[in-house]
Structures are given as C-alpha cells and as structure tokens.
Chain length 265, copies 2
C-alpha cells in the first residue's frame, strides 16, 4: 500500500513547443526537473502529456478513432515512438539530477475498452513507489478491446491512478494560471478562481450555457471532466501554471501558490 501519494501531471504544452513538430521545451523540462529535485516529495508519480510529439502523429493516423486500416499500424508504432522520444528527454533530465526515476510504459500494462482504462497491471508501479523509485508515465497509444487501439490521455491516467492508489492530491501543471470564469486569453479581466468545487463548476457551466462551456475552464473542460472521478473520491486537484518558474515547486511543497484548487464540494 502506497500512502500519501502525490501525482504530478505535466501537460504537453508545458514541456514541448506546441506549434513546432517534435520540439521539446528543453529549458522548461530541465527547470521542472530541478523543481522536482528541490521539492524532494515522496512518494511521487509523474505523468506527462504528448504536446507536439504524440498528438500530431496520432492525429495524422487517426489512432484515437481505432483500427480501421492496416496502414495505421505504422502510425500506432510511430505515435508510441514519438512519446518514447519525449519521455526519454524528461527521464534523462531527472536522472542527471540524481532522481531515481523509472519509466512505466502505459501501453505495456494497460488495456482500454472504448477508450476507458479496463485493465492495468499495477504491481510493478506500486512496488517501485514502495522502494522509493519515482515512476514516470505518459499519454500513450494503447490496445483497446473495442476499437483495436486508441489514445489514452495522461489526464485519464492521472485520474485513474489517483483513484486506484488513493492518492493524497493531484498537481496539474498546465500553461495557464488556473481556472477563470471566461478564457483569460480572450478577456484579460476574467475572474480567477482560487478554489472551486465540482458543484460550483457545474453551476457555472449551466449559468453560462453549454456553448460557453469551453471558455469557462479556459479550454480545460476535458481535463476537469477527466479529473472529476478522482476529485469526487476526495482527491483534491490543484491546477497550476507549469510554465511559470517555481509554481510546480511550491505546489509540490504544499506552499501557497497561484492556482485553482478543485475539491469535491
């Protein structure tokens, strides 16, 4: 049994250059590895997204849609390989700082059904945490029992592991400061939420109407929806800006930090 687990999710946009194919944000990766090193939080599990590595390849070959044509097999292979490349850069940066991190390849131990995690072999992961190793996972192209294969997002992975491992908290590193009443990229005076319950979030969505839903979360509706099962089970999530130096460090240390805490009620 792993106690008091912290799950750190690093969004693809905070570790890659979003608009440049296969371009890591090396400075951000190294800075974040430094913040993780400095915080010395254990047990810790890290999950990262795909950014400009996984997404463009997955999109090109329609991997999320499932297995339709044999030509997609190379795309499946290439999508996974793109994630392996990005993962290696992060692993390398952690190891160089003396952090005992070990990648756990999601597609090697997870099978989904219609896009949702159906089975996961968690023993290696749990045992690694128990001996003091930091597992590093990522969004991946995985086998799907309904569709042949699909994309498993790092967000779903974070939420599922938070529930299954009874995590203490999820720290969600993104490229905005947290949740706003309207998209801060469209309106710089948008109201910022320091704390929000799932109920409040629900009400807010309704009052603004479905069409504004995306704006409510600053383009993060899908992420919040994925996190909801974990939050409902009592695992608080804090959304912080991983692009701003020191925010992830402060969140890891449990210090006061600009961000949005989302709780069940």
């Amino acid at each position: 049994m792993v106690r008091e687990l912290t799950i750190l999710k690093l969004g693809g946009s905070s570790i890659t250059k979003k608009d440049k194919l296969f371009t890591p944000n090396v400075n951000a990766i190294n800075r974040l590895a430094g913040e993780i090193k400095k915080a010395r939080v254990k047990p810790l599990l890290i999950i990262h997204g795909g950014g400009s590595f996984g997404h463009p390849v997955a999109k090109k070959y329609k991997i999320k849609e499932g297995y339709i044509a044999q030509t997609q097999l190379q795309g499946f292979s290439k999508t996974h390989y793109a994630m392996v490349k990005l993962n290696r850069l992060i692993l390398d940066s952690l190891i160089r700082r003396g952090i005992p991190a070990v990648t756990i390849q999601p597609s090697a131990c997870i099978v989904t059904k219609n896009g949702r995690i159906k089975y996961m072999e968690k023993r290696p992961l749990i045992n690694l945490l128990e001996i003091g190793v930091i597992p590093l996972l990522y969004g991946d192209a995985v086998i799907d029992l309904t569709k042949g294969f699909t994309i498993l997002s790092g967000d779903q992975l974070a939420s599922s592991l938070a529930v299954n491992l009874n995590a203490r908290r999820i720290i969600f590193g993104v490229d905005v400061d947290g949740l706003f009443a309207v998209d801060p990229k469209l309106d710089s005076t948008a109201k910022f939420f320091k704390q929000l319950s799932l109920n409040q979030l629900e009400k807010l969505k309704r009052s603004l109407g479905e069409s504004d839903v995306t704006d409510v979360t600053g383009g993060m509706r899908g992420k919040i929806l994925e996190l909801a099962p974990a939050i409902q089970r009592g695992v608080p999530a804090i959304i912080v800006n991983a692009a701003k130096p020191g925010r992830i460090y402060k969140a890891l240390k449990g210090k006061k930090v600009i961000g949005t805490i989302i709780t069940a009620r």
Copy 2:
C-alpha cells in the same frame, strides 16, 4: 490466441560492441533490421539483450543481487535507462524500414520472485501480435517480490513467452555459429552440432564432467538452461550466428542455415 509465433532473440553481443561501454553496433542493428524486414515473418516477437549497455551498469550497482542499499535506486534507474537507450536504437532502425514495431517494457508488466517471472500482464502484448504489430522486448531491471528488484534476462523472457504463447519456434541469435563439443574459441577443430536433443546435451555434459560444462556450449550453458523449459514443451530452438550476414534472415524464412537446432528428444 496467437498462432505460429516466431520468437527472435538477439543477443547483446550481436547488437553492441561488447568491450566498449554504451557502444551500439549500429551496422549490425541496421543489417538485422533489414533481414527482419526482408523475411516478412508474422507473427513475430523480438527480444534483445543488454550487451555493453545494460550489463555494466547492472553489475556496478549489483542490481541482480537485489535491493540492499538506497544508493542502488539510482543504479536501478540507470540500468533501465541504459536498456531504453539501446532499445530505442533498434526500434528506430525497425520503424525506419516501415516495420510496425512497438516496444513492450518488461519492467512495466512483469514482476519476478527470486529472479523468476511470477506475474506478467500479457494482454497488451497478445493484442499487439493479433493486430499485426511486432512487439519488441528486452532484458530489463525489474521488481522482484523476494529481492526488491533484480535483472530479468532476455533469455528467460524468450523461454517464458515461448511457453506461454505456445510459440512455433525460438530463433536465438548469438555471436558463434552454434553449439560445439568444446569452445571453438579455444579449439578451432571442435566438433559442431547441427542438431542436438536436450538429452544428448545432458549426456555430453556428464561425459565431459561438470568443470567442462561451460565449454560444451561455447559459453552458452546458461542460455540453453533458460531455453530448456520451452524446448521440453516442444518449442524447437535454433541457435544461429547473428553476426554473420544473412543467417537470421535464413532462420526466419525457415531456410537451411548454419546453426544448431535443439529439440526435446
């Protein structure tokens, strides 16, 4: 259910430069990827060893001996990372040739007990084979229920998967032509075995005495011992020289090739 599976094990000495730390044999890797491409054998599963990547790091930190001191955690991380680096070179070479290969990280889906495979989540692997993807595995640093962690050899993995997936055959790529009565590196006139049963091998060992056991197999006793469970269950193994161009191709195609076939009786 996967039918007629071929398992190809590539020894570390055939894909790395044995005596040079972290030095891949890039020419050999590319040539072998070409032979695999040309043979077009499916379903196919590939396993590779560690050579000058995994072994030196594992040895330095005594990973095989299990978890004794916290300083080993970085060694565990580094051993796995060394294998990831080597694996990526092979994966890259396969993908560049249009082979839909996907790595399956052994330490993500296998737990050993006192050095022997205790659990393995095989669903992703089996499903990949079923849709036509070629899984690529390797010897790895894994979680061990008795020792904390240990090294799982590619040989044990090959044998275990051959039994569990009811493989048609194991092709064992090494850096000698096959099995000799005495080590061919010591005696160039050594008798060569084209075919050998496990019983004959046993007798041979006894007639020569235990001290000569290593020589009997040209330094490959451990490998044969690992393969024995699969061979006993009726999965023939052919030992061929992966360093000699065309041998792996011929073995994959089922063509006549210099090598030693080992059968149950």
